[in-house]
Point group: D2
Chain length 152, copies 4
Amino acid sequence: MKHISYIGDFAAWEKEFVFYMPTKVRFSEMDMFGHLNNKVPFTYFEEARIEFFKKLGFMQEWTKKNVEAMIVVANLQCDYLRQVFFDEHLKVYVKVESVGNSSADMHYMVKNEKEEICLVGRSTMVQVSKKTGKGVPWPEEWKEKMMNRQLI
Amino acid sequence: MKHISYIGDFAAWEKEFVFYMPTKVRFSEMDMFGHLNNKVPFTYFEEARIEFFKKLGFMQEWTKKNVEAMIVVANLQCDYLRQVFFDEHLKVYVKVESVGNSSADMHYMVKNEKEEICLVGRSTMVQVSKKTGKGVPWPEEWKEKMMNRQLI
Amino acid sequence: MKHISYIGDFAAWEKEFVFYMPTKVRFSEMDMFGHLNNKVPFTYFEEARIEFFKKLGFMQEWTKKNVEAMIVVANLQCDYLRQVFFDEHLKVYVKVESVGNSSADMHYMVKNEKEEICLVGRSTMVQVSKKTGKGVPWPEEWKEKMMNRQLI
Amino acid sequence: MKHISYIGDFAAWEKEFVFYMPTKVRFSEMDMFGHLNNKVPFTYFEEARIEFFKKLGFMQEWTKKNVEAMIVVANLQCDYLRQVFFDEHLKVYVKVESVGNSSADMHYMVKNEKEEICLVGRSTMVQVSKKTGKGVPWPEEWKEKMMNRQLI
């Protein structure tokens, strides 16, 4: 595995993922060279992240009209490690690597049917106010939920 | 020109277009076979239609918060007449073919740099209430503007 | 059900669909008004059509390097009957309505979880030569397979 | 300006950009919250990068059938600094920050009409063999062209 700046001990890092979303590579996601278009992984990350936040019960809160907080992406990145092919079944793993006051560092790993890692990535998410755009601190209980690897 | 059900006298039909939006074919719009992905023309139609409605001053109304009416697509269609290539400069023409009480039949024509027609299409648009979803009749003045080929 | 030009007896038409692809509405498929972007149904139709052609064994032929024939879209259309929401589970039905010498008229129907029809559509597909772009006649056996509603 | 790991002296970094591609934010690029969908900047980066490589004459080489080398993305990242709105005119700047043996570190900066920086990003590009997928060293002349800020 080549060096990725945001991954320390790779084996330990990989082991911490417990949640994934299955997906299949669509025809419309391929480019003229028969490669997965380089922006498609970010769609995969987004969908897996939403499923993850639904599992934790956060998404249900953010979409309530009377709730002031919502979630935004502060940055996104992806490393392309192995070619992805049309019609492949993928597992899109997501976890919270660390939490700040109102932010979270989320990591992603995508495996193909042979359990080979094709893509890895990360993003900084921030809980902000729908009105002011300023950061809204996480409740303590949410911080625990995010860092709990058992997804209870 | 092969027969298209919504086009009668082709020469007369073509002549009525006076408004177009220039665009250029993006790399990310091509598919694995080196063809324009078949849903991309609908993005072109949408953008040209929005520019057209801005030109008429309608878009400015629909996007006001206190205005009840908005515009929706009831149906869409496209005929692929000639292959479109990566990096080509296109002209996306749009016109209102006919108007109903709260609807409009809009037609589209896309030409390449050689002035060859590559794509033609149409859509039914309906002005509806943001609250009820029911049709909102066009003001008489708007009907005239839509059918006026001078875009004044 | 409102009148759709390509649908005669609606109940009979609906009954002929036996194949569908399940899908779920992605966050990235919604527009600023909270509607499904109007070009997304064409992606659903494309994916369902590819699955259908794989089921029939045609896709496997077209993607062989030494096979001269491939499939292209000559036209596409969609009627938007009912609003589709984020995160809904949909069934995307596809069937061959009729076959020509080298073409096929394909129809589509999308139902939500309440079994309500949200979208209907159609497309003309043509089997063409990868070299010349000219139509390649269907083998008789393929015509039968396409029109057989049991998908054997 | 908040700290971005791949930008040292911000003023000096900003000054080195001399090439940009103008673009306008499309309706279909917005999400349900009225934000630019977070994967759209990668499409902007891609288009600007292609224009940049055409300007240098590299793209013309890579797309020749008898040329063995092509270009691939090894990683991509984007920082979202300021909200981007529908219909805004943007300038998408691109430059080569540094060159390796067969790779290049490319940086991106997107400004709105008020000359405010909305997005910054970077990517590692690698020139590889179409046959083997292995890195193909840059000709010395190409390295010079990439690092030359006058785009001659």
